[in-house]
Symmetry: D2
């Protein structure tokens, strides 16, 4: 079968591979729609996972089941399915402890284009089909449903980690597709005022549509100073970080109220240390919680988030700025994610 | 001063009383807008609090500060304020333990027209002004803000007690004003599908506007049977009870999934026992949580919920079906709550 | 193979059966030590599960692995293992949602002597060996470790459901083996004062040893009245129910403070309704949480609780009042659980 | 009146001051027993609060009420009381939000020898007596009860912040008096294995007594390497930091399992940044929670923790290595805390 792969550092292209084996609990799926992710860009051009060779890329897909293992009960060939980026081993100790995304080791619930080939091939392998696939609900557009693989659950997890409550003032750093879903997730958990940090016009418009009440642009001065001015010196209750660097948390801590929480869902790809300013962190005693986490994946998560789309709580259409047809557009769509033109939020390739 | 009072069981009318004393921490407030509540009806015509005499009614108000005690720091005469129905003693053991609404004893955070005169007078007394009043934000209509005293926090507390999470299927029983705010509160905590139980056309329309995806009418058959049919036998993740009787929980338990929660915010005025069907409760082992609770009051709660109105998350206008001007309409508005005509959701009296 | 079985209602005896099949993820285990449980008594003599025929009894065992399926990674024949009474399907939607004991349906994580043969046979089947077995730690007595299958996790879960916190005053109803573990579990979560309700001398002595500070005997008068007298009218912060009937919760509600929690781990075998007294429940608004739940099972739970025994936090020796050697004593030990002589807490049969 | 004060940086001594004014809600208390704290040392010799002049030191005391304000209801002159180091303004927004220790601003619930004179005087002022004092229970030694002011609640809060659960493996860094109470607090929340990091013989003996199962000495090599070797490469579930520097968290992160929590209760007095190693923190996605917090104070906290002493859960006697009689020993006892001789854990001065 064919797959669009990382050939080596800084090199991508089509390769021919054996169709994956389908274990007793597993499924093979053919993609109907896929999306490239900034993580794919990190993998290829920044070597985030090291120097991989001939590894098929991609972890965002909606597909059609091609084959299932003997022990699979709820899915059969021909079923249309949503595939989460994170596909845990549900009987692992980590999953039993509530952290399925770290099943088998930190971040090890992330398997596509990491421990095995990703979804940009004619077929891809899904471990534990009953536990990790979700049926595509009738009437849900497969192209929009691709946003459920990673963008929606990651952004929403930021709001979960920050534990947004009714009426909270929330700061969201970053308004790429994950940041936009963090804005939507904050509004959908009851936030009052939402500051979104970003500068691209298209993203700003989308952020407002998803519930941001004010936009903060780095170009207008220090992030913290702007927040303190806008809040009359009070700061924010919660913060979600969906962009920036290892230094971003240090910018947010000073504007976070005691008892506040920072939920990070930004993959920190470089830098030795995340830093927390000692004094603004209350000399270690300010109850300012700092946590970051990989999105929860698996079937239940997909079903629940899909239900939010089915019942009209969430409209992901504004995220999808580019639609392509055919595998031949994989490279173009990946390059878009790499180059991030001003009119891009997220591209989808329809197959 | 004058006040509209319960004269005795089944009797209401205007009385003349001494203006209340203002303690060192307290405030006297003159109402700008007030709303009668079903609780007032229970108090007068059902004797829910026993046979009271010459007790001024009412616990929902927006007002203007008339006088403050010597130790009050953040409020001064002339300030426009939101007054919560529940005004805790914040240094009580119960409040320190996280249950301020029970400060000094179960339900004892409820003081207006219970332990002291209510808000339907020329002046009313607010204990701990700094802890229990909130400044009316600029641009927030005082008439709409009256919904913050009780309707919004009570309905939203139902969603908090039920611990609604992203994508949950939620059942809301009752679509009076509190039930409608429970529907809104569920949607604003991320519910997917929301069933609302009720039959009045105006309330159904409002429920849909607040996020109900389907309406269940008791007249069409058993509540539980309808839910099970609509969910393909799966039932619901969470339930909020904002209407019904001591028997309502028994109807909901069978359609609640294991691990689900029932959040009751309906005042149960009669009946000896709430009943839980043993088998459908998993013989005591189904992890179906049953909890009911009085709304959290106080200043922070008011500020946070007001912020949701200021920033456009919540529009309470559909709740307010009747607006009256002048104290002389107090009795008419109270009678409306008692008679519940089909075109009523909530009346407000503007002063 | 041989097994000690329920032959039909009120009848037990030895039967000959096919050795169970071992699926790809599963294990066959031979018991080293087993214990009968009151649930076995309910099953046989009260028909709690209906009229079963030739079903091997038992769900508390430590054993030695005899065979493993092809996909099992962490266990091999000859390994000594702790077997939890509850063995979830970890990829089920319920487990993904945090309620593994209800995987596949309410209470359906309980499989032994319920959906399949139990552990009182020469061999028994364990689903998902990697997810549900735990290695017996070196130095841990297999006879004592049998208490980890059900008694310890069930009793401790009562303290978890009641959410015992530092310094809480806790009421524990019932001081059979589960109630004793509830007392120990409350002390090990930081309870201050602990009232234990029971009357058998041996159990009272054990309860004091596990941390009960006062004993309440039903024979001395109403439970609630005794608690209120002993607490100067204040009542208790939390309650754990490990004995009694469908009416026990109604006795506890009045002595529970607002904001308190009742954690039930008592299997309620008869009665139509659990009742909650309306007024003492704050007319539905007292924040008195009522919840009951089946113990969490699986491997991680067993490993964590075993660690508490290995590191000397918990000594289960006082629970084990009777030790028998050989399968021929299965019936005698089961009869002990049925007859509950005054010198019995829990018997173990060593094989 | 007389008070033992910080005269200026690096200088202490007795001064004469006006007896404090007692507000309407407040109390004046005369100390019966007091203890110096490492914070007093930081204040005087490290200038942690800046250059203060003639500020009476001390925040750990048991005393006798001398005077109460007109609005105080539950205390009267002559009552023996436990005084918490943290005395919140309970009606503040922060307290309403669950963070009373930050009432009025980050860390601002700490008033003694910070915003006002401390407890090392003939009389000291307590704000909100009803909310912040606790009656000394009959039979509780006032000298031991002094440990309730700060050492017990701070150490236990570490275990709360780390959210220790049954069977958790817990790392406690630091075994001074707070660290020892963190060890005790971890054991009393159900920890299994507990590693304690320290090297003084007396503290090691006390740590074992409070429940540490193994001791780690920095002198024997890298902390993290020792933990990983002792756990077979698995690391720990939770960590409590009660000693060290701004760099200590960076040492602990690598040995913390994903989903783990670090609860810091160590006052970080110097250094610009707390650092979190990026990769071992899962590139921002490992769900390793980092939080630090000032102890919760107030009356309920004191009552609950006192109950643990009254009912024999906690014996603080091993903490108190030095007992002095009379104010004249204040300086000697403070110098002990400064010099930390090997036979010291905590001194108390009895008055």
């Amino acid at each position: 079968m064919k797959g669009f792969a990382m050939l080596g550092l800084n090199r991508v292209g089509w390769i021919e591979k054996e169709k994956p084996q389908c274990g007793a609990l597993d499924a093979l799926v053919s993609p109907l729609a896929v999306a490239p992710c900034t993580s794919d860009v990190h993998t290829v051009w920044e070597g985030a996972l090291g120097d991989r060779h001939d590894m098929i890329l991609g972890h965002e897909a909606v597909g059609i089941v091609s084959e299932v293992g003997a022990l699979v009960r709820d899915f059969k060939p021909g079923d249309k399915v949503i595939v989460p980026a994170i596909t845990p081993d549900w009987n692992s100790l980590e999953a039993q402890g509530g952290y399925s995304m770290h099943s088998g080791g930190m971040l090890a619930g992330w398997k596509f284009s990491n421990f095995k080939d990703g979804v940009f091939g004619e077929f891809f392998h899904v471990n534990d089909a009953d536990g990790n696939l979700a049926h595509l609900p009738d009437g849900l557009d497969p192209v929009e449903a691709v946003m459920l693989s990673d963008m929606v659950p990651t952004g929403f997890h930021g709001a979960e980690l920050a534990d947004v409550q009714y009426g909270d003032t929330v700061l969201v750093v970053g308004i790429g597709p994950v940041g936009l879903m963090a804005v939507a997730g904050a509004a959908l958990r009851g936030a009052g005022r939402i500051f979104a940090v970003g500068s691209r016009a298209l993203c700003i418009e989308a952020a407002r549509g998803y519930g941001a009440t004010e936009i903060i642009d780095y170009h207008n001065g220090d992030l913290g100073a702007q927040v303190m001015e806008m809040t009359g010196g009070k700061g924010v209750d919660k913060a979600i970080i969906a962009g920036g660097t290892v230094g971003t948390i240090a910018q947010v801590i000073p504007v976070l109220k005691p008892g506040g929480r920072i939920g990070n869902v930004n993959y920190l790809g470089s830098g030795e240390f995340v830093t927390i300013p000692r004094i603004e962190w209350g000399c270690g005693m300010g109850h300012k919680v700092v946590v970051g986490g990989l999105m929860p994946g698996g079937r239940l998560r997909m079903e629940k988030l899909a239900s939010m789309m089915v019942y009209g709580r969430l409209n992901v259409a504004p995220l999808i700025t580019h639609r392509f047809n055919g595998f031949e557009n994989m490279e173009k769509s990946l390059n878009l994610m790499k180059d991030k033109p001003r009119d891009l939020i997220k591209p989808v390739v329809i197959l």
